[in-house]
Structure formats: structure tokens, C-alpha cells
């Protein structure tokens, strides 16, 4: 139902009722932010990239198809925005976050928080950061942003079963990688 509503909203945007984009922003901006944060580990950059996605949606609204799928179309755009950013700023990929959220935590508070976090989670986060861009993107879309396997498969240009096998392999790799870090 939601997907159907998203599609109808996007069709209205395409027809010129651009104000409706505000509703799509409310529904998708947090997911895009999560996706970009997972890829860049930087809040400020992620916020800028979210704006870029919506600017592209405005620019390319005429290309949205009558039988389109907004989630698929918009996440494809988000992937392209991420790829452009990575190409332009390779040097900044996976930098430590310097967002206001972290700055607000005092040094001590931050340290306490870090200590509270179990080792297992820290190792998993490190293992995730060490994955190749494509593998991390796959986990981000499937696991964190809950995009259906069939759509992710279409984005990656493979069959649904092939994408599931890939996810399985990445999960195995992650497991082995964070166990190694634990040793």
C-alpha cells in the first residue's frame, strides 16, 4: 500500500505538483541517510548526499515511468549519488564521523559509551567497514534499509537467488572477519 502511495506521489511530482515531494522526503530521507551513513560513516556528508538525491529526483522527475517503482528508482539514484561522491572524494571515504551528534557528547561520556558497547558489536562494525564497497552496499540495502531481494537483485543486475547467495557469502565473510579481530 505504501509503495503504491509512493508511486502515486511521484507521479504527481512528475506532473508538476512538486510540493508532494515533501511527503516522499518525509518517508525516505531517514532511510537514505542511513544508507549513506553506512557507506561513508560521516553524518555531515550523508546529510549532503540526501539533499543531492532529492535534487536529482527533481531534475530527473520526467524520467519516472508510469509503471515505475519509487523505492527502486530512488535507491538507484542514491546508489549513483554515492558512487559519484566516492569517485570524487576517495580520500574521504570511511573517515571518522565528526558530526554534531558526536561532538555533543563530552569526551568522557563518549568513552563510557564506547566501553558499554560490547566487543562483539565493535568487531562487527570494524568488519563491516573493512568490506569492499559493493559488499557493504549489499548489506546496507538488504539488511539495514530492508529493500526487497528482488529489487536489490535488479539493481545489481543479477537474479534473486544469485543475490541471496551473495548475501550469504558476505555474512559468512563478516562472521569470519570479526572472529579474527576478536582473537
Amino acid at each position: 500500500m505504501d509503495q503504491f502511495e509512493d508511486h502515486n506521489l511521484m507521479l504527481k511530482v512528475k506532473e508538476g505538483d512538486v510540493g508532494k515531494l515533501d511527503l516522499l522526503y518525509k518517508r525516505y530521507s531517514r532511510r537514505f541517510f542511513g544508507f549513506f551513513y553506512g557507506m561513508t560513516r560521516d553524518s555531515a556528508t550523508s546529510e549532503d548526499l540526501v539533499q543531492n538525491v532529492f535534487m536529482r529526483i527533481l531534475k530527473y522527475k520526467h524520467t519516472y515511468k508510469e509503471n515505475g517503482d519509487f523505492e527502486f528508482w530512488a535507491f538507484q539514484m542514491a546508489r549513483n549519488v554515492q558512487k559519484d561522491h566516492y569517485r570524487k572524494n576517495k580520500r574521504y571515504a570511511f573517515q571518522e564521523d565528526m558530526n554534531p551528534y558526536e561532538r555533543q557528547l563530552s569526551e568522557t561520556k563518549h568513552r563510557e559509551k564506547e566501553m558499554e558497547k560490547s566487543d562483539e558489536i565493535s568487531y562487527l562494525e570494524k568488519a563491516l567497514a573493512n568490506l569492499s564497497e559493493e559488499k557493504r552496499e549489499l548489506i546496507e540495502l538488504v539488511r539495514f534499509q530492508k529493500v526487497k531481494y528482488a529489487k536489490v537483485a535488479e539493481m545489481f543486475g543479477v537474479s534473486e537467488s544469485a543475490i541471496k547467495v551473495r548475501v550469504h557469502r558476505v555474512l559468512k565473510e563478516l562472521k569470519a572477519s570479526y572472529l579474527k579481530l576478536d582473537m
Partner: protein, 261 residues
């Protein structure tokens, strides 16, 4: 093939998207392949651990920026819709200038004619002029001519107290305007608001984003001027990756200057 089938069904199960029929099929397949059960349970553990990873929330500034972009887009679109609208827009602009002139006249009148409520009235008029200037600035900054946009950023620097919208417009211009002179002018105007934390963060962010050597050098100068030590890491990063020797040297000097202060 059986192995792939097990994986497929197991991953559906992890997402809670498995039908009863498929769940039975999975149980049947696993009963014949015991070695798979343990491996899949380990993977399921990793899958569930993801739920415990903390992710930050975006700031409210992100929503405000989007609203600004959408409003600007809608305004631009409206101004393009028809000749009639263009004329109406111009008349509106003329009307704004007329009102501003009238207000200035009234202000001068109040200066000359002593009154008991004089101070209060002057304050009120100043507020109105300030809001009019802000409105003019936000209109000018959207204009296609670079000269007009430069006027807008200079106007912003003259405002005694800029509100969030003005600051956001300046930051957006600094990061996204195609004309380097406009970007430089907005940098200069932002310097007037450098006591604000969000402006200092925006400057550091801009240093990372700018590709023009001129802008990189100008931003480094501003960061030294406002003694923004938290920009050291960003400066180091840019210095390491920039190809232009002049920029490299300039960043090195800025880093040293910030470290010594």
C-alpha cells in the same frame, strides 16, 4: 542446487518473509543436511547482531535545507510559468522597494519629530526593514546573474542578526554556486557569523568539498582567522590529496599557524 535452495529459504526466514509451505520445505531440507544447520545458525546470530549497531540520526538542519531547496525550486518554477507571472513578480519587487522607501521615509520622519513612543517605533521599523532586507537577500540569491547573487551575499553580511534561512542560503551558495566569485563573496559574508557553531562546521565541510584552488586557499585563511582548530584533520586530509603545490604549501602554513596558536 539443494544448497542454494536452503540459503534462499533461510534468508527469507531471516527477513520474516517465508510462507508456511516454504518453512516446512526448509525444515525438511535441513533434516537431511545437518551440517548446514549449525552454519546457518551462526549466520543468523551475525544477522541479529546488526540490530544492536547504533546509527546516528540526521540533524534538523537537513530537513531545513531540504525545505529551503524545495521552496526555492517552487519559487523559480512559479516565476517561469508565464509572462503574466513574471510581470506580477516584478510588480511585487517594485512594491517591496516602494514600501522600503516609505518605511525609510517614515523612519527619518520619526527621527525628526520627537515623540514619546519614538524609540519603540524606531525599533519596530528597524525590525521591518531587517525582515525586508532578508526577503530581498533570499530573492536575489536565486537570480541567474552572478552579480545579483553577489549583491545578495553582501546584503546578508550587512544584516545585524541573520536568521537560520539566511545562514542556510549562504552555506548552500558557498557549497553549490557555480560561480567562484559568488562562492568567495558568500565565504566573506559567512565570516561575519563565524561565532555560530553551524557556520564553523559548514566552513570545515566546505574545505573538503571545494575543488577550486582559490576557494581552498581562501577557506584555509578564514579557518586560521577564526582559529578553528577542529579543522586541522580536514586540512591534513586535503593537503595529502591535493595536487596543486601552492595549495599544499598554503595548507601546511595554515596547519602550522593553528598548531602554534
Amino acid at each position: 542446487m539443494e544448497k542454494n535452495k536452503i540459503i534462499e529459504l533461510w534468508l527469507d526466514k531471516l527477513l520474516g518473509e517465508i510462507s508456511d509451505e516454504n518453512e516446512k520445505a526448509l525444515a525438511k531440507l535441513l533434516s537431511k543436511n545437518h551440517k548446514w544447520t549449525q552454519e546457518l545458525q551462526e549466520i543468523e546470530h551475525t544477522w541479529q547482531l546488526f540490530d544492536r549497531i547504533d546509527r546516528p540520526e540526521p540533524s534538523l538542519l537537513m530537513d531545513a535545507k531540504f525545505e529551503g531547496i524545495l521552496a526555492a525550486y517552487l519559487q523559480k518554477k512559479e516565476s517561469k510559468t508565464s509572462l503574466l507571472d513574471t510581470i506580477r513578480f516584478r510588480v511585487l519587487k517594485g512594491w517591496q522597494v516602494g514600501i522600503a522607501t516609505l518605511l525609510i521615509g517614515l523612519l527619518m520622519g520619526w527621527w525628526l519629530l520627537p515623540s514619546q513612543d519614538q524609540k519603540q517605533d524606531i525599533k519596530q521599523l528597524s525590525r521591518e526593514i531587517q525582515s525586508m532586507k532578508e526577503m530581498m537577500m533570499l530573492t536575489l540569491i536565486e537570480q541567474p546573474k552572478a552579480q545579483e547573487r553577489i549583491r545578495a551575499v553582501h546584503l546578508a553580511a550587512e544584516l545585524p542578526q541573520a536568521d537560520e534561512k539566511v545562514i542556510l542560503a549562504l552555506i548552500t551558495t558557498l557549497n553549490h554556486d557555480e560561480n567562484v566569485n559568488v562562492r568567495l563573496a558568500s565565504l566573506e559574508s559567512l565570516l561575519s557569523y563565524s561565532e555560530r557553531a553551524e557556520v564553523r562546521r559548514a566552513l570545515i565541510n566546505a574545505l573538503k568539498m571545494q575543488e577550486s584552488a582559490l576557494m581552498q586557499v581562501a577557506i584555509a585563511d578564514v579557518l586560521v582567522q577564526i582559529q578553528e582548530k577542529s579543522s586541522l584533520e580536514a586540512m591534513e586530509n586535503v593537503k595529502e590529496n591535493v595536487e596543486d603545490e601552492m595549495v599544499k604549501q598554503k595548507l601546511e602554513q595554515s596547519i602550522q599557524s593553528l598548531q602554534q596558536s
